[in-house]
C-alpha cells in the first residue's frame, strides 16, 4: 500500500503544479486508502488469506497411513474425473435449468403486476411475496420438510381425506423438484424486489410517449419495460447461477428426511462438506471447492458473454 500511495504522491502533483493546489492530491489519495482500509483488511483476512491457504492446501494429500505429501495438481485431476462430483454438477445444472426460469418468470410477473398499479394493496402484496426471503433457509427447509411428510404431513393428510394419494415428495424422482420448490419460494420475492426497483427507475416519459403512439399496457410491458429490465435480469441470473451451483442448506436439511435419496454427493457443496468432515479428505475437499468455484466463474462468464452479444446484435 505504501508504495502505491508514494507513486500517487509523485505523479498527481507533478501534473498540476506543486504550488497552487499542491496538498490536495496526496491527501485525497491517502484518505481514499483510509476509507477502504477497514474493508480491505477484513477482505484480506477473512477471504483472500483463507482462499490462498485452501488453494495451497489443495496441492497436498494427507493420508491416515503415510502422512502428508505434496502432490501438485493430483487432487484436481482426480476431481475432474470424479464421477460423483460430475453427477453432482449435473444435478445442480439440471436444477438451474428448471428452477431458475420458473423463479425468474414468477418474479418478473409479480414485478410487472405491482408496477402496473393495477394491484390493490400493492405494498402488502409486495411485502407478502418478499417475506419468505426473510425466513432463514434452514427454517424454510425444515418447514417444507414437514409439509412434504409422507404419512403425517399436511399435504398427505389432506390427500388422504379426499381419498387421493399425495405424490412422494421425498422420493428419488421428485426430490430435486421439491427442493426447487423450496428455493423458488424463498427467492422469488428477492428477485422480484430487484426487478421492481429497476422498473421504478424507468423514466415515465417513455410510457407517455408510448401511449401517445397508441401502445396498450401489454405492448408497453413487452416492448419497453422488459428490454429496459435486461441488465437487472442479467444480474438476477448471475446470482442464480451462483446460488444454484452452491446449493447446500436445503438438501443438507432434507437429508435427515430422505437419507437414501439425498446422498452425500447430491450437490458439489454437500460432497465437499462430507469429504472434509466425514472422510477426513480435507485436501481433496479443498480441491473440489475450487473446481466448483471455477465452474461457477466459467458459468457466470459464459452467461454474461451470451447476453451481451445478444443485446449488441
Amino acid at each position: 500500500m505504501s508504495t502505491e500511495s508514494a507513486t500517487a504522491t509523485a505523479t498527481a502533483p507533478a501534473a498540476k503544479g506543486r504550488n497552487t493546489k499542491g496538498g490536495k492530491g496526496p491527501r485525497y489519495a491517502r484518505t481514499g486508502y483510509l476509507f477502504v482500509a477497514p474493508f480491505m483488511i477484513a477482505f484480506t483476512a477473512m477471504f483472500l488469506v483463507p482462499l490462498a491457504y485452501a488453494a495451497w492446501f489443495s496441492l497436498f494429500r494427507e493420508q491416515m497411513i503415510g502422512g502428508n505429501v505434496f502432490v501438485g495438481l493430483d487432487n484436481y485431476t482426480r476431481a475432474f474425473t470424479d464421477p460423483l462430483l460430475m453427477a453432482g454438477l449435473g444435478r445442480v445444472a439440471l436444477f438451474f435449468l428448471i428452477q431458475v426460469p420458473v423463479m425468474m418468470a414468477l418474479a418478473l410477473f409479480f414485478a410487472l403486476a405491482l408496477d402496473s398499479a393495477l394491484v390493490r394493496l400493492s405494498r402488502t402484496v409486495r411485502l407478502a411475496i418478499f417475506m419468505p426471503y426473510a425466513v432463514p433457509s434452514v427454517v424454510a427447509a425444515l418447514m417444507w420438510g414437514f409439509l412434504y411428510g409422507p404419512d403425517f404431513g399436511p399435504i398427505a393428510q389432506f390427500a388422504d381425506r379426499i381419498g387421493a394419494t399425495a405424490p412422494d415428495f421425498l422420493g428419488a424422482d421428485l426430490m430435486l423438484g421439491s427442493i426447487a420448490n423450496i428455493v423458488t419460494w424463498e427467492f422469488t420475492g428477492y428477485n422480484m424486489i430487484l426487478l421492481y426497483a429497476a422498473l421504478r427507475a424507468i423514466p415515465v416519459e417513455l410510457y407517455e410517449a408510448a401511449s401517445v403512439d397508441g401502445a396498450g399496457p401489454w405492448r408497453i410491458a413487452w416492448s419497453i419495460k422488459i428490454p429496459l429490465l435486461r441488465p437487472a435480469i442479467v444480474l438476477c441470473m448471475v446470482f442464480s447461477v451462483i446460488g444454484s451451483f452452491q446449493l447446500f442448506n436445503e438438501p443438507s436439511i432434507m437429508r435427515t428426511l430422505a437419507p437414501n435419496v439425498i446422498i452425500a454427493e447430491y450437490t458439489p457443496n454437500l460432497y465437499a462438506y462430507n469429504l472434509a468432515f466425514v472422510g477426513q479428505e480435507y485436501n481433496y475437499a479443498a480441491a473440489v471447492s475450487f473446481v466448483l468455484g471455477f465452474v461457477i466463474m466459467a458459468g457466470s462468464y459464459l452467461f454474461m458473454l451470451a447476453t451481451n452479444r445478444r443485446s449488441r446484435s
Partner: protein, 450 residues
C-alpha cells in the same frame, strides 16, 4: 440469491482455519511404564483444570462427586455437539494442536478412529488395567487394543433387544417371535391383517443398527485389522443373510423404511404404525419420553434369533470416556475417567437417574437396578431383560479405523438397496469396493476375504 454466495467462502474458511496450525509440533505424552501410587496422589493434590467434552445429560452430577473427592481438581464440562459434530470438532482441535479436551466422550465404534491417528492415551499405567474384572467381558474387549492397551473407560452400553406393542400383538394373535423366520412370518401376517401397521421399520441409513445386526449374526467384518493392515469382509455369509433378509421383507412391502429419529418416525411411533422397535438398552427410556401417548402398551424382549442354538445379541451405541495424549495432565485426566465410571455412587446415579445402561457387573447384578418396574412397559422389569441380553453379546466384534466413512458408504450402497428392496448382495459388493478404495487412498493395505 446473493446471500448464498457467502457459503463457499464459509466452507473455504472452515477448511482452512482449523488446519492453519497443523504444522505446529504436537506435544504428546510419552506414557510411562507404570505410574506409582505416590505420583498419582501428588498429582491429585495439585490444583488442575481439566476439560471434558461430553453430550451426556446430567453429567454434572458425576463431575461434582469427583470434585468433592478431589477438591484440587476442577473439571470444565463442554457440550460441543453430539455424534459427528462432536468428533469433527475434536479432530479439528487435535490437528490444531491446542484447544482439544483432556477427556472426551467417545463411542466404542469411534475408538479405532482415534487410535489410528495416535491420539488416545493408553490408560494402563494409570491403574486402568486393574479395572478389567469390574466390566462385562465384551465391553472390556471393545476398549482394549491388540497389545492389551486400555484406550478408554466404558460408561454405558446398548445391548440390542426388541420393544413390542403388546396390545397389537394380542389383537392379532401374534406370539413374541423367537427366530427371525418367525418374525418374518409375523410381519407378513400383521401387514395383511392391517395394512396400516408394520411389524417393524427398517431405518435405511442407520448404519449403527445394521452393524449391531451383523454383530448378532456372528459377522465380524473388520476382524484382525491392525495398524496399516485393514481386513474387509462385508460380503460373508452372515452379512449377506442379514442384508437379504431385510431387503426381502421390504420388497414384499411388509416392513416400512422410514428414517429413524425423524419427524415422520416419531409421529409413526406415537400413532402405532410400528408394532416393534428393534433397538438397544437405551431405547426403553428414550421411547417413554418420545411416544408418551402409547404408555403401558409396550413390552421388552430379546431380539429374534438366527439360530435356535444359543441366544446371541449385538450392541448398538453406548460410549466411553477416553483421554487424549495431548493432555498436560495425564494422571488427573486418567483418574477422572476412571472415577466417574467406576465409583459406586457415580455409576449408580448414571444407571438409575440418567438411565445409561451400565457396563459394570456390579450394577447388572444389583437388584435395585434390575428390579426397576417401568409403568410404560406395563410394570415390566425391563432392565432385567436387557441385563440378561447383555450376557449374550459376543466379545468378537471389531470396528474399522474410519467408521464414519464406512457408515456413509453403507448408506449409499447397502442401506439404499435395502430401502428399495433391491439386490442386497450386489450392494454389499459395492460397499466393499467403496471401503477398499477409500482405505487404499488413505494408505492402508487392504486384505479382502476371498
Amino acid at each position: 440469491m446473493n446471500p448464498r454466495f457467502r457459503r463457499r467462502t464459509g466452507l473455504a474458511a472452515a477448511l482452512a482455519s482449523p488446519l492453519a496450525f497443523g504444522a505446529c509440533a504436537r506435544q504428546r505424552v510419552d506414557p510411562p511404564e507404570q505410574v506409582s501410587r505416590a505420583e498419582i496422589d501428588e498429582a491429585m493434590r495439585t490444583p488442575t483444570e481439566l476439560n471434558f467434552w461430553t453430550w451426556v445429560p446430567g453429567i454434572e452430577k458425576q463431575v461434582a462427586l469427583f470434585e468433592e473427592a478431589y477438591p484440587d481438581i476442577t473439571v470444565d464440562v463442554t457440550n460441543a455437539a453430539q455424534g459427528a459434530g462432536h468428533y469433527a470438532k475434536i479432530r479439528t482441535a487435535l490437528r490444531a494442536g491446542r484447544g482439544a479436551p483432556d477427556v472426551a466422550q467417545i463411542e466404542y465404534e469411534m475408538i479405532p478412529a482415534f487410535t489410528i491417528t495416535d491420539h488416545l492415551l493408553d490408560l494402563r499405567p494409570y491403574g486402568a488395567g486393574e479395572l478389567e474384572d469390574r466390566f462385562v467381558d465384551w465391553v472390556w474387549a471393545q476398549v482394549s487394543g491388540p497389545g492389551g492397551e486400555v484406550w478408554a473407560i466404558p460408561q454405558d452400553t446398548g445391548p440390542m433387544g426388541m420393544l413390542y406393542r403388546a396390545d397389537i400383538f394380542e389383537a392379532h394373535g401374534i406370539e413374541v417371535p423367537e427366530t427371525w423366520e418367525a418374525f418374518a412370518e409375523a410381519a407378513r401376517a400383521l401387514h395383511r391383517a392391517d395394512p396400516e401397521v408394520y411389524l417393524a421399520n427398517f431405518p435405511p441409513s442407520q448404519g449403527a443398527y445394521f452393524a449391531g445386526s451383523l454383530w448378532q449374526a456372528g459377522a465380524d467384518p473388520f476382524a484382525g485389522s491392525e495398524g496399516p493392515v485393514l481386513n474387509v469382509d462385508v460380503t460373508s455369509e452372515p452379512v449377506r443373510r442379514v442384508a437379504e433378509y431385510w431387503a426381502g421383507l421390504v420388497a414384499e412391502g411388509v416392513v416400512s423404511t422410514d428414517p429413524d429419529f425423524s419427524d415422520q418416525w416419531y409421529q409413526a411411533a406415537n400413532r402405532g404404525k410400528y408394532a416393534t422397535w428393534l433397538t438397544a438398552a437405551w431405547g426403553p427410556v428414550f421411547l417413554q419420553s418420545t411416544a408418551a401417548s402409547t404408555s403401558g402398551k409396550w413390552r421388552a424382549a430379546p431380539l429374534p434369533q438366527w439360530e435356535s442354538g444359543g441366544p446371541a445379541a449385538g450392541n448398538w451405541g453406548g460410549s466411553t470416556n477416553g483421554v487424549f495424549n495431548i493432555t498436560e495432565h495425564p494422571i488427573q485426566a486418567a483418574v477422572f475417567a476412571q472415577f466417574i465410571n467406576t465409583d459406586p455412587e457415580c455409576t449408580k446415579a448414571m444407571a438409575t437417574e440418567q438411565f445409561l445402561f451400565p457396563p459394570t457387573k456390579a450394577l447388572l447384578e444389583d437388584p435395585e437396578f434390575t428390579g426397576m418396574e417401568l409403568e410404560f412397559y406395563g410394570g415390566q422389569k425391563v432392565n432385567e431383560v436387557f441385563a440378561q441380553i447383555s450376557e449374550t453379546v459376543s466379545p468378537e466384534f471389531q470396528w474399522p479405523p474410519f467408521n464414519d466413512q464406512v457408515r456413509a458408504d453403507y448408506g449409499a450402497t447397502v442401506g439404499a438397496a435395502i430401502a428399495e428392496g433391491g439386490d442386497a448382495a450386489a450392494a454389499l459388493g459395492d460397499w466393499r469396493d467403496r471401503i477398499t478404495a477409500y482405505a487404499e487412498y488413505q494408505g492402508f493395505t487392504v486384505e479382502e476375504a476371498s
